[in-house]
Subunit: 330 residues, 2 copies
């Protein structure tokens, strides 16, 4: 009797969900717009995101490598750091990054707040220190007023700095893609090739890793399940975090949202075209040789994942003054 | 009879002007807001201004050194170029630059259009070539559509690229400063110290060079009229353009609009504080030793020249594609 009742309830609940959300059976869910909970905190975070004074040189900001004009990336294979150092890895997009299970390719930061502190103090990136960055901000009364507004007191510390940057980054989502319109019921939002591509994307197993609203970002996976990935990169992936040999070449699965904007591809940024990236992924991860027509259809589908880009008003940064530590560009 | 009539007319016209514009007798005039004549051209120019693909590396845009979050400058002594080359000179602000009699410190470009082509192809700055930059833009259909909209055909060439950038830059004016409010009749817009500073600025002769709406930019002057400017810089000023020994150390007088935002000062960017800059200018140009009170009052006046900063919506740049020449960051 109890079992019958539960089965009935399950059926009813399934029916209700099905009628309310047409996309409920799809492995990908629409991106939802975000309404900032704390506008003062987000505004401060935006200023910090664009402020090159968080770097030693005074010339590199978060936006330098996570350029919001360019899909939240720098569109070069690996990033340029202080004094033009060649970075070891491709800058992941900041767009929709709040949906990642962890941050960085190897997941070594548990969230956006922890991530934000990394590049500031990395000698190969912004090359400052948390102490210096805080000291710069603390010297500027207009910044202290913004901290006051956001946190209730004008204390500046690295915890507050990274909290604010993370709060801004959480707003950087890209709803409204053509694929999301299709998911939400507009069956004309995709053409036949794009829909064929999506069906193949599912049937061939891509959605095993690239799923959820971000079409990735939700799990770790080895790059090279069936065949090894050929690269000159020395990056070890999750092994650098866990120390386990089995985590060699294991990476956080990247989001495919806005993938048309976030070239070049893979952690080494060695692949410039979506066609080549799809071909490589098919072979390495699925042991499948996609033909040209299949590749083209998957690429056509992937391009439907480009959403509305964040609407950003460029922040006006308060000037340094006679008490502000000076940048050291050279 | 004719002479009497003309004199009368002159008197009448002087009276009319005086009553209409209270600031007509001041050596500085208010900045006027600019309404873009051609919004499509300005929008294209904004995209190009923010597009790092005009550089060889794909990482340096006009905005990298003329940062619109920071008074249209980079706030470092001399600019960072491709591969972190140390530039020879301080980046002049792009704000109100349309009012300059010519562009660059030495006036070697006759206008903003001619200026815009310089850094793109300068090996020490963006290190691209006009051909490569045009080729990048021409490969991107979304850009060609913007050229079509702005120019009536989708041809991309360097003349159009620089025309568009200049059109955008012409919109980068900063009206609404407290000093302009005072000029326009709001006698409470300045406090006593600021007004004392302005009076001293005039009576001591600063307005001999720093005049007009941009408070500079309208003529060339030798840096070191009475005493030489001490510097490690090898920059020769106008001599590099004219070849004349008498033009050694002659520079375009920089605008003082937004001077609080455009530190560090002078062509070598060696001076970080307005107090020191005023002291040096007094001694070198006017052979006058301003005392601390005088310096403080002039600095207080100078800070009233900060206007409303341009309201910029960050452009979303169209992605490169398989046909786009790739950046060469390393």
């Amino acid at each position: 009797m109890i079992r019958i009742l539960m089965t009935s309830m399950l059926l009813i609940s399934t029916l209700v969900v099905s009628s309310a959300v047409s996309a409920s059976n799809e492995p990908i869910q629409p991106i939802k717009a975000v309404t900032p909970k704390d506008p003062a905190l987000v505004e401060l975070g935006k200023m910090l995101f664009f402020d090159p004074r968080l770097s030693k040189s005074g010339w590199i900001s978060c936006n330098s490598c996570h350029n919001l004009s360019m899909g939240g990336t720098d569109n070069i294979p690996t990033s340029i750091g202080h004094a033009w150092q060649e970075g070891p890895i491709n800058a992941p997009t900041v767009l929709n990054s709040s949906m990642n299970l962890a941050q960085f390719w190897d997941g070594r930061a548990k969230d956006l707040k922890e991530q934000a502190g990394g590049p500031i103090a990395n000698p190969g990136e912004m090359a400052s220190t948390h102490e210096l960055a805080v000291s710069v901000l603390n010297s500027i009364p207009q910044y202290r007023a913004k901290f006051e507004k956001a946190f209730g007191s004008d204390k500046v510390d690295i915890d507050r700095v990274t909290t604010a940057i993370a709060a801004f980054e959480e707003t950087l989502v890209t709803p409204g893609s053509r694929f999301d319109k299709w998911l939400e019921g507009d069956k004309n939002a995709l053409n036949k090739q794009e829909l064929d591509g999506y069906k193949l994307f599912k049937s061939s197993g891509c959605t095993g890793c690239h799923n959820g609203p971000a079409v990735g970002g939700a799990l770790y996976q080895k790059l090279g399940v069936h065949h090894p990935y050929e690269t000159d990169s020395k990056i070890e992936g999750r092994k650098a975090v866990t120390g386990k040999d089995t985590d060699l070449n294991v990476f956080k699965v990247p989001t495919l949202r806005n993938i048309e904007l976030t070239y070049p591809y893979f952690h080494d940024g060695a692949v410039w075209t979506l066609e080549e990236a799809v071909k490589i992924m098919g072979k390495l991860q699925l042991d499948r040789d996609f033909n040209k027509k299949e590749i083209d259809s998957i690429v056509a589908f992937l391009k439907t994942l480009t959403g509305e880009q964040p609407d950003i008003k460029l922040p006006i940064l308060p000037p340094s003054n006679n008490d502000t530590p000076r940048p050291q560009p050279f």
